[in-house]
């Protein structure tokens, strides 16, 4: 699974992207975020308040209950501020 991070999630995690292999039980965004928190102190810090974390799977905005699989590109970022 490819993970990509933007804005302060990127700086807190300390990298813009990484390829990880979550265990087979991780089938939703919510489960993925729970699992990611234990990857490093940076991951834990970035994901401590999910109210300000948004998620896209394969370039589409999704909610926490959306499914994720090993071939997906999952992006984590704060609420967008363009325009």
């Amino acid at each position: 699974m490819k993970l990509v991070y933007f804005a302060w999630l990127r700086t807190r995690i300390g990298k813009g992207e990484e390829v990880l292999t979550p265990p087979i039980e991780v089938r939703t965004v919510r489960a993925l975020l729970d699992w990611l928190k234990d990857r490093s102190p940076g991951h834990a810090e970035a994901l401590k308040n999910l109210d300000v974390v948004r998620v896209a799977v394969n370039h589409e905005h999704v909610q926490l209950d959306a499914p994720v699989g090993p071939n997906d590109e999952v992006a984590l970022f704060p609420p967008v501020t363009g325009g």
């Binding site: 933007f6 992006a75 609420p79 967008v80 501020t81 325009g83």
Partner: protein
């Protein structure tokens, strides 16, 4: 038509190109967003716009398709810049053209409102107190909510 680019744009030239040779357009509405030197009471210098290549184009394309579904547009253009921008610089251009002005106005406002809550851009501002990621504005969410179809 959508473009995501580092370079500046020429609003007038884009409007001309969009309407050139067309005799069926009654109204053209444009919106240009600019970098301000104040944000929430704090002075800001430059800002850097980060985006998510691939998703940006996909989201802008989807928003444009939605506008075309809702209003009878003769032409439509969205240009959004990324990279380092100074106060006074142009950030975004939205142009809509339609036989009737109401459709052009509504579609242009819809496009900028939705873009602000759906297109994956993030602003990092240089303030007097250091670089700061801009927080999303609740007003933008409210503005986008106006356009949710019941």
């Amino acid at each position: 038509m959508i473009r995501v680019q580092r370079e500046d744009f020429d609003s007038g030239a884009e409007m001309m190109a969009l309407t050139a040779g067309r005799h069926d357009i009654g109204g053209v509405v444009s919106f240009v967003g600019l970098v301000r030197d104040m944000a929430g009471g704090a002075k800001i210098g430059a800002m850097t716009l980060e985006h998510y290549p691939g998703m940006t184009e996909k989201q802008l394309g989807a928003i444009e398709a939605e506008a075309n579904k809702r209003w009878p547009l003769s032409a439509c253009l969205i240009i959004h810049r990324y990279g380092k921008l100074e106060p006074g610089d142009r950030i975004v251009l939205v142009i809509t053209a339609s036989p009737h002005r109401d459709a052009a106005f509504d579609a242009c406002r819809f496009l900028i409102d939705w873009l602000k809550t759906k297109a994956p851009f993030w602003k990092l501002e240089d303030t007097e107190h250091g670089a700061k990621w801009v927080d999303a504005d609740a007003k933008d969410a409210d503005a986008a909510a106006r356009w949710v179809e019941k």
